[in-house]
């Protein structure tokens, strides 16, 4: 019974992605070996976490959902009161040994809880259930927005919304909500921080202030555009190597990748990302119980949303919000969360036959 269970296609895709990450980090980090060592250690830890979670049966996740969510909610509250402030945002709890970011736990806790709420009643959900699901989604999102961490808020909103969508939220209601959203947009605009407004304005016309607010956006686009079809070659991206790109080993790593590997490289990268997402959706399709389906569908598609939002912002289509390129950007916390999500996905797939009810 101690046989390690995992999903081979998913594992292969993820390992290749990790390898790509190390290759491009070496270039983006100025050939700094310590960066590579640090990232490798994180990857190793994240993969161990993934394989461990792959052994867990999905009905356990179902039973634990309220507790995981509840614990996450309490910690989010604590962060606002006693959290560690770094770079102007309050996101961390200091646990002595290490700092913990409760919003990362909620990236998994929120979709679990929304799926839990919805699967307790027959689908498609009735309005009462929907109100409860919306509350479970919006309360943690509000707390994270207050930190402020716009990137994580958006990703958590996306993961919960995906569950509600998968559960059969009526198309007509979706239409009505989008209309309402469009009407309320000016109101939300006034609620944004000044620097957030500035980022959105810059998006429309970066060249209006090429050495000020638009500087990073323009430099990033020059990097991508000058890469051309074949790219300038590994370690040869002049934009990246000469420090024109901000945050080039974290959020803006895609501009380094596309400058050095060109459009062909970008296509290959997309093949990997889409392949991994498709495998996740395949798992969701062929699993047998509703909760697992909802969770698997949401986790896979949220992963692709990361890719979409990150590349969208680096390529100058979306405002700059702090979302890393999944499994490629330098950084530990979000990688562990992502890998944990894939662990849950593998667990769902491994136990699909057990769950047929």
């Amino acid at each position: 019974m101690l046989r390690l269970k995992f999903d081979l296609p998913l594992l292969m895709g993820l390992l290749i992605l990790c390898a790509v990450s190390l290759v491009i980090l070496y270039s983006a980090g100025g050939e700094n070996q310590r960066l590579i060592v640090n990232q490798s250690i994180r990857m190793f830890v994240a993969i161990i976490v993934m394989l461990a979670l792959a052994q867990v049966r999905p009905d356990s996740w179902f039973r634990w959902s309220p507790y995981i969510f509840g614990a996450g909610l309490i910690m989010l509250g604590l962060v606002l009161v006693i959290g560690y402030t770094g770079k102007g945002a309050q996101r961390w709890l200091d646990l002595g040994l290490f700092r913990f970011q409760p919003s990362e736990l909620m990236k998994l806790g929120v979709p679990m809880m929304v799926a839990w709420v919805l699967t307790r009643k027959p689908l498609p959900p009735q309005s009462g259930t929907l109100v409860l699901a919306a509350a479970v989604l919006l309360i943690p999102a509000g707390l994270i927005l207050k930190q402020p961490d716009l990137g994580t808020t958006i990703m958590i909103l996306a993961s919960g919304t995906l569950i509600i969508f998968l559960a059969g939220f009526a198309w007509r209601s979706i239409g009505v909500l989008m209309l309402l959203g469009a009407i309320a947009a000016p109101f939300f605009w006034t609620m944004l921080h000044d620097y957030q407004q500035q980022r959105i304005l810059t998006l429309f016309d970066p060249w209006s202030d090429p050495l000020g607010a638009g500087y990073h956006s323009i430099q990033s686009m020059i990097a991508i555009g000058s890469g051309g079809a074949q790219g300038k070659g590994w370690l040869n991206g002049s934009q990246s190597q000469l420090e024109f790109i901000p945050e080039r080993h974290t959020d803006f790593i895609f501009s380094v990748f596309s400058e050095e590997f060109g459009f062909i490289g970008v296509l290959m990268l997309f093949l990997l990302y889409v392949g991994i997402t498709a495998r996740g959706l395949y798992i969701a399709y062929y699993t047998k119980d509703t909760y697992s389906r909802l969770l698997a569908g949401s986790l896979s598609m949220t992963f692709f949303f990361y890719v979409f939002v990150n590349i969208g912002m680096v390529a100058g289509m979306l405002p700059v919000v702090g979302v890393p390129l999944p499994l490629i950007s330098y950084g530990g916390t979000s990688m562990v969360t992502l890998m944990a999500g894939f662990g849950i996905l593998m667990g769902i797939h491994n136990h699909r036959s057990l769950m047929s009810r």
């Binding site: 402030t85 997309f270 509703t290 692709f304 390529a315």
Partner: protein
């Protein structure tokens, strides 16, 4: 999971399958959107961006501002920025780093510590960032390097400004120092404002006035060649240098006051009563702030930290001592204001006993002072007089009155981390100790002992307030901030101390107290009579002695048996001239023994220097001789114990 009927299960499966297919469509759409955008940038617009990339030679570089300088009241420079030459190495230009370091070490002295620090920096930062190998090169080293420059590809000498404190340790407890920005500070500061700046104020004035001293970062647009080297500067928005700070401190007086304290542990505060301007702010021992600017090495730091004399402690600001008899004038004033007649005499048999108790509260003079008036009680520092007065006033009145002179409250000085001291009250004892207030505690509060704690700065402010006849002014180190120099100098701000309190007491009562404090230094039987001797101006003062070791009932105080760190602290507060006070001085000498013997002469010399410009070092030598010739006559005064 709910018990669902088979029909529902099938319906749910079909529903979710339909939605999953919708997601696949969404996935394809999102993918196409992104790929179209990247295709547009990389293929369709490639030509344009390639040109932009090749022409992309314009970079923005931060130009750090020059930190404001700090001057004393006479315009002497206390903190300046001096040009130093640093040895920089650009790792990406170096083929064999070890060989380069070896070669460099032959002409420039590089310590193993500097090499290991440099190596850890290069590992942590990208190759194309220049790293500092050695901070301040001598002119000779610079010359030797420039001659041999062609041999050292990747290494270069660069000038930069570095903070320097010409007075060394003399003012470290006032100015503090700047140091490299550490990780915790990096998280809390506005990164944009510190672009290109490596230093931040860590302590003292440097920390308190950080935002004024810092200045505003400038930028320059530079054109680079294909390798990123700067070819020429296109445009620059110059930085705005920080504001200069002018202190009320008189650097000469500060140096002298430190000299008068000698190598003893202690503090001297001198305040101009009318403005609250701090003229001298001395805490000994001191340490050299210049060592901290580029990071002090562990061994030197540990030596400072573990020094038994605790040089890192700012005694003037943070040292807390029992004020002892120095508050007796104020207690008398409280008595006068509450109906005590100035001519009332108290018989001092050498001890005081509360009704219904056998405990003897002793006077410092075993034989007692006999029948003692208020004037004599201050002049001779009789304890029994104050036991009785404190007992008749009660702790509540005593607390409220002394608090008006700033005891138990922060003085509001322009430094960070000032303690509030402790002025005990019933409420305080209930809250902190959980016990009721005992009458005996009122007695020892009346002579400045017990729970009571005050900082040297608080004693200085208390004395200045008395000199002002009740006007308590916030002490200020900084007199003004200016920008620019010469004709273009403009005044930015004059942070005068606020009037914190006005203690209303009758003028004639102030006269009684101040006359008695004159008697302390002038009367043949005053406890500090040597101090007033031959003074060319009038002085009002009060001695004090703070016990470090408590004396058991019935035991005798024997100084010779105590080790140095168990000896009493010596205190003296004074102001002069009495008619129109120009300076108020508080002196504390840790384990000095007695206020009159050790602390008072320091205060006298400080006042001589400030008021007359006389350096009294020689006077001291003469005085020691006189004191030695008549030891018997002095013993009473010297052993005044509060």
């Amino acid at each position: 999971m709910e018990q669902l009927e088979l029909k529902d299960y099938l319906r749910e499966t079909n529903l979710i399958h339909a939605r999953l297919i919708a997601l696949v469509i969404l996935l394809v759409v999102l993918m196409l959107v992104i790929l179209t955008r990247v295709w547009y940038l990389q293929i369709y617009q490639h030509q344009r961006f390639e040109v932009l990339s090749k022409d992309n030679r314009v970079r923005l570089l931060p130009v750090p501002p020059v930190r404001g300088q700090i001057y004393d009241r006479n315009g002497k420079v206390l903190a300046e920025n001096i040009p130093v030459f640093t040895l920089q190495v650009l790792p990406s230009e170096v083929d064999d780093m070890d060989a380069l370091l070896n070669e460099l070490a032959k002409i420039i002295h590089i310590s193993p510590g500097e090499i290991s620090k440099f190596k850890s920096q290069t590992r942590a930062r990208p190759d194309f960032e220049s790293q500092t190998l050695k901070v301040s090169l001598t002119e000779e080293e610079v010359a030797r390097f420039l001659v041999n420059r062609h041999r050292f590809d990747g290494a270069d000498v660069q000038p930069r400004l570095q903070r320097h404190y010409p007075y060394g340790g003399e003012l470290v407890h006032v100015l503090g120092y700047v140091g490299r920005i550490n990780r915790a500070e990096a998280d809390s500061i506005d990164q944009a404002a510190y672009k290109g700046t490596e230093y931040i104020g860590k302590l003292g004035i440097e920390a308190k006035y950080e935002s004024d001293l810092l200045g505003k970062v400038g930028f320059k647009q530079v054109e680079t060649n294909a390798h990123g080297r700067i070819v020429r500067t296109l445009d620059r928005s110059p930085p705005i240098s920080g504001e200069d700070i002018h202190l009320n401190i008189d650097a000469d007086l500060q140096v002298k006051a430190r000299e008068y304290l000698g190598d003893r542990r202690g503090a001297v505060i001198a305040i101009e009563p009318s403005t609250g301007g701090v003229l001298a702010f001395v805490s000994t021992p001191t340490y050299d702030p210049n060592k901290f600017v580029n990071g002090i090495d562990h061994r030197s730091y540990n030596a400072l930290r573990d020094d038994i004399n605790r040089p890192l402690l700012n005694r003037a600001l943070n040292g807390r001592y029992a004020p002892g008899s120095t508050i007796k004038g104020l207690v008398s004033l409280a008595g006068l204001e509450n109906g005590w007649n100035k001519n009332t005499e108290v018989v001092c048999p050498g001890f005081y006993r509360l009704k219904g108790s056998t405990h003897r509260y002793r006077c410092w003079r075993r034989g007692g002072h006999g029948s003692t008036s208020m004037l004599e009680s201050i002049m001779q520092s009789c304890d029994v007089f104050y036991y009785q007065m404190a007992n008749s006033l009660g702790i509540d009145k005593l607390h409220d009155f002394l608090q008006k002179f700033g005891l138990g409250e922060q003085t509001g000085i322009d430094l960070i981390g000032e303690p509030s001291g402790l002025m005990p009250s019933r409420e305080w004892k209930e809250r902190v100790r959980g016990n009721p207030w005992y009458p005996g505690e009122t007695l020892i509060t009346g002579i400045g002992q017990g729970y009571m704690l005050a900082t040297p700065l608080q004693l200085g402010v208390m004395t200045a307030t008395l000199a002002n006849r009740g006007k308590r002014i916030e002490p200020r180190l900084v007199s003004q901030l200016t920008h620019g120099s010469g004709d273009e100098q403009e005044q930015i701000a004059v942070p005068t101390g606020a009037l914190l309190a006005s203690v209303s007491a009758q003028a004639k009562n102030y006269d009684v107290i101040i006359d008695a404090m004159r008697a302390v230094v002038e009367h043949p039987r005053g406890t500090a009579r040597r101090v007033g001797l031959d003074a060319e101006y009038t002085i009002a003062g009060k001695t004090g002695t703070a016990q470090v070791v408590s004396i058991a009932q019935g035991a005798r105080y024997d100084e010779s048996k105590l080790t140095e760190f168990q000896k009493d602290h010596a205190l003296f507060v004074s102001f002069a001239p009495v008619e129109e006070p120009k300076i108020a001085v508080a002196v504390i000498v840790e384990n000095g023994g007695s206020g009159s013997g050790v602390a008072a002469p320091v205060a006298r010399k400080v006042m001589d220097y400030y008021l007359l410009g006389v350096d009294a070092t020689e006077v001291e030598a003469a005085e020691t001789e006189t004191a030695a010739s008549e030891p018997a006559a002095n013993s009473d005064a010297v052993h005044e114990a509060g």
